[in-house]
């Protein structure tokens, strides 16, 4: 057994230190060591986006990032999207527009959609669809997800 790596990072704004195997993914660290099970493993190979997290302001598949790589960086997960008991407009609109059914892809979509809107506050339908093409959903057919993102964008532009 290889010696574990000591990692010092910031997760959802909080300072977090952990030990992990050198070959352990950030997704496994989040889920198995830190109890942050909101990010999901749908494939383990970066094809489904269910593990999407923010890493220094960029959306990444946490199954393709090593736990050790988070050292000194800022990580954002779905658990950090709401502000206390106040939901982010995306979260509100996903519920209002019925943009989720089973909900397992939803955390990944919320993270990726937030990153999309932070970059592009007034996206066209095509830009939304391409911006979220890295997130698989099998239940909804994406229709209501796109509508929810459009509605959240509109609300965020107002505020």
């Amino acid at each position: 057994m290889m010696p574990q790596v000591r990692v010092s990072t910031t997760i959802n704004g909080d300072k977090v230190d952990y030990l992990c195997e050198p070959d352990e993914t950030l997704l496994d660290v989040l889920r198995n060591r830190l109890g942050l099970t909101g990010s999901k493993e749908g494939c383990g190979t970066g094809d489904c986006g269910a593990c999407s997290v923010m890493l220094d302001g960029r959306v990444v598949c946490s199954c393709l990032v090593l736990g050790a790589e988070a050292d000194g960086r800022k990580v954002g997960t779905v658990e950090g999207i709401a502000n206390g008991d106040k939901l982010h407009p995306l979260q509100d609109k996903f519920i209002e527009f019925a943009a989720l059914q089973c909900g397992v892809c939803t955390p990944g979509f919320i993270v990726a959609a937030k990153a999309l809107l932070d970059r592009n506050p007034d996206p066209t339908e095509t830009e939304i669809r391409f911006g979220l093409a890295g997130n698989l959903c099998r239940c909804t057919g994406y229709d209501k997800i796109v509508r929810a993102v459009q509605a959240a964008a509109a609300e965020m532009r107002k505020g």
Binding site: N32, C48, V78, A82, Q91, A98, L136, T140, G141
Partner: protein, 757 residues
């Protein structure tokens, strides 16, 4: 339970049913709080991993686990010996869970280990020595039926054939349905078309892999946390396979990240329990995505020949389908359902559908949303499309002329009750999509589809809290938004607010048996049980009010959430609200609850019509769906947003199945594309908005008229898209998926000597 005569849908105004409130599990799902199969942990938990055969067909001469058992950190190893051959009806499930003597497909489980970390568990698998004797394999359905094909089961004699064959084959059974004589029908036709079609196996594609956490104590009591469509089924199956009393195993259904039929059986759960029992510690077992593709339950691949004859005026005079499905290494493909549903949309005097259930060296199939129906509808609706074009008739007109109605004798036997196919066809004809102009290289396709919908064993417990809020315990895992619908139904019956009802999925120790969430049965069955349980509770609430007022119980009625005297003669009392009666429940007789246990029946069939515009890129063969409309009869939409969600989800799975998804087997019999990169399901950028029209022709067998909606929506898309692509490409496509190389090949073959430019 029949349609409630008070609730004439034309005039009755539901209070909350039919509105679109927020789903109760929504908050947890958008914040990441919701707990799915792999999200549970237990102190001292071990990680389980499964060793799988790399060979599509092999005799297992010996399994030596000695080296693996010695590896530090390994706490238990299991093989087929650790499971019980008991109930014969579970024999194939058992042999699929773990290979017994022979590995029958690439990915078939042969052993499993539990260790303190996942890397030790993986190392343990590498140390298990399996001595295989490789056998010849077969993966194609037609090849498996040919004489001389490698035989999987030496005792497989084709059932339903008289006289029975003398030799074993790979054909498990023959099924036949229909009435009249298609040959008579064909002789009377002006035009007969016969075509053959092929579809490849596809996977339900749920984003959440199978996952469970098992914990068995030395006293034989066990707990299982699992993502499943039926936790009572899981309990019963696992108890049987492990030799436990049913009451000793408590199964809790987690939130489920998609099922679509693929989680209606057991794969890894008995293994996790067996490992936990041996190790004396909890074991978490999660499938990787590769394991999901190789070793869970994809749907069948098919080879189908359809022959239909029509008169010039559009009347279908005869129809015949020869349907061949391979369902993996064990009998039980849904070919009989395919044969039964093949011509179910039409009113026919002469119809016959014959189905063959074939085995091959592939994973054991599991249900996939309207099992058996989409492939057969693809074949039948394609031929009808061709017939319509040849006789110069509008495709909707052709279908209207032959549409099944109330009293029509179905192609599978019984006469239909009130059904909504004509209404869907009329709605399609009137829809603006139908007349929208098409651009270059675009084609429009329409198709009709049918599904049976089922009832089943169901029970609910409705408990009234001291503050007048209600908790409804159901036993059917929520795979489509049913908790929201149940709260709407309970609120409607009780006359209280939607937010005052909370629905929970109870574990197997807290509620009576419930059949699996399948067959589009939940809104219908659990809804019906909820209505009855609410009415049961209302009876008790009225009885309490009667006691409080000191009048006979039958002098009290329930109206708008209140108990009232039934008339001026009963007495002059102020109505008592549910909350008021609940507040004094302790003093008036104790806790107030309603129950209902039933084998729900009266489920109504549902029909759908899909319409789609496809554009073909003549350079690359790529198909883009430009527009898609789903029109489906829901009977009564309890929560319209989630009915639309089912329509859209089913349509998009159909789009993937039609255009891109397929299981690719190499000559070596191994699955070549067990991952989401090469098993390409639709992504957001592939699709347009999916328009929906909810038609409501009440089901006479349900108090509100509800029909199941979950499955019918995947039946028409394969055909609708094939019809659209064929129109756009100028050539009939008869094999799925219509991936770019296939479309290109078909267009090139059509233009032949002319060349492409």
């Amino acid at each position: 339970m029949p349609l409630d005569s008070r609730l004439d849908p034309a005039t009755y105004k539901f209070k909350v049913v039919g509105t679109r409130p927020s789903r109760p599990d929504g908050l947890d799902k958008v914040t990441g709080r919701a707990k799915f199969g792999a999200d549970a942990n237990a102190p001292g938990m071990l990680v389980g991993k499964i060793l799988r055969s790399p060979h599509p067909h092999a005799r297992i001469r010996r399994i030596n686990t000695a080296k693996a058992a010695k590896l530090p950190g390994v706490k238990a190893i299991v093989t087929a010996e650790d499971f019980r051959e008991g109930d014969p009806s579970l024999r194939d499930v058992l042999h699929n869970v773990m290979a017994r003597g022979r590995a029958l497909y690439d990915g078939h489980a042969v052993a499993a280990a539990a260790a303190t970390t996942s890397s030790i568990a993986r190392k343990a698998l590498q140390l298990i020595e399996v001595d295989y004797e490789i056998l010849p394999h077969v993966t194609d359905v037609d090849a498996a039926m040919k004489p001389g094909a490698p035989i999987l089961h030496s005792d497989m004699i084709t059932a339903n054939v008289d006289p029975a064959p003398k030799k074993a084959s790979n054909i498990a059974a023959r099924h036949e349905f229909g009435h009249g004589d298609p040959e008579v029908g064909f002789k009377a036709a002006d035009l007969v078309i016969e075509r053959s079609f092929k579809t490849e196996a596809t996977h339900q594609g749920y984003i959440e892999p199978h996952a469970c956490l098992a914990s068995v104590g030395s006293d034989g009591q066990g707990e299982l946390w699992v993502c499943t469509q039926g936790h009572f089924m899981v309990r019963n199956a696992c108890a049987e396979l492990l030799g436990m009393d049913v009451s000793k195993l408590r199964v809790t259904a987690s939130e489920i990240g998609g099922g679509f039929g693929g989680k209606t059986t057991v794969f890894i759960e008995p293994i996790a329990l067996a490992l936990s029992r041996k190790a004396g510690k909890p074991v978490k077992l999660v499938m990787t995505r590769e394991e999901v593709f190789r070793a869970s339950g994809p749907t069948s691949s098919s080879s189908i020949t359809v022959k239909i004859g029509v008169k010039k005026d559009g009347r279908i005079t005869g129809a015949h389908a020869d349907i061949r499905f391979q369902g993996g290494a064990f009998a039980g493909s849904p070919v009989s359902l395919g044969a039964m549903s093949a011509f179910a949309c039409y009113d026919l005097d002469h119809v016959k559908a014959v189905g063959y259930d074939v085995v091959t060296n592939r994973p054991k199939q599991a249900a996939y949303r309207a099992p058996g129906a989409p492939m057969v509808a693809f074949a039948v609706e394609s031929v009808l499309d061709e017939l319509a074009k040849k006789i110069g008739m509008d495709p909707i007109e052709l279908r209207l002329k032959n549409a099944a109605k109330e009293g029509t004798r179905s192609s599978y036997g019984p006469k239909y009750n009130r059904v909504g196919l004509s209404q869907c066809l009329e709605a399609a004809r009137k829809h603006p999509h139908y007349k929208a102009p098409l651009g270059p290289n675009q084609g429009r396709g329409i198709a009709a589809g049918f599904w049976f919908n089922f009832g089943g064993q169901t029970c609910v417990s409705l408990n009234i809290n001291v503050d007048g809020t209600v908790v409804l315990a159901v036993g059917t895992p929520d795979i489509g938004g049913s908790r929201a619908s149940m709260c709407l139904i309970a609120a409607e019956e009780l006359g209280i607010g939607y937010d005052n009802v909370r629905a929970v999925v109870a574990d197997t120790s807290s509620l009576g048996y419930n059949d699996i969430s399948e067959g589009s049965r939940v809104t219908f069955s659990t809804g019906l049980a909820t209505i009855e349980a609410a009415r049961d509770a209302i009876g008790k609430l009225c009885a309490r009010a009667a006691k409080i007022w000191d009048i006979p119980a039958d002098a009290v009625v329930w109206e708008n959430g209140h108990a009232k005297p039934s008339g001026p003669n009963a007495g002059n009392f102020e109505p008592l609200s549910l909350a008021e009666i609940a507040r004094t429940a302790a003093k008036t007789g104790g806790p107030i609850a309603g129950h209902h246990e039933v084998n729900a029946d009266g489920a109504g069939v549902s029909f759908a019509v899909h319409m789609t515009d496809a554009e073909v890129d003549r350079e690359t063969g790529r198909v883009q769906i430009k527009r898609y409309t789903v029109i489906q009869d829901a009977g009564k939409a309890i929560h319209p947003s989630y009915v639309e969600g089912q329509f859209q989800g089913g349509a998009v799975q159909g789009i993937g199945w039609a255009l891109n998804e397929e299981y690719i087997y190499g000559k070596d019999g191994r699955l070549q594309n067990p991952g989401f990169l090469d098993y390409r399901i639709p992504v957001a950028s592939d699709l347009p908005m999916i328009d929906t029209v909810i038609v409501e022709v009440p089901n006479p067998g349900h108090p509100y008229g509800v029909r199941g909606v979950g499955e019918t929506s995947i039946v028409p898309p394969l055909a609708a898209i094939a019809n659209a692509v064929s129109a756009a490409a100028g050539v009939r496509l008869t094999e799925l998926p219509m991936s770019p190389p296939q479309v290109l090949k078909a267009m090139d073959a059509e233009s032949g000597a002319k060349g492409r430019h």
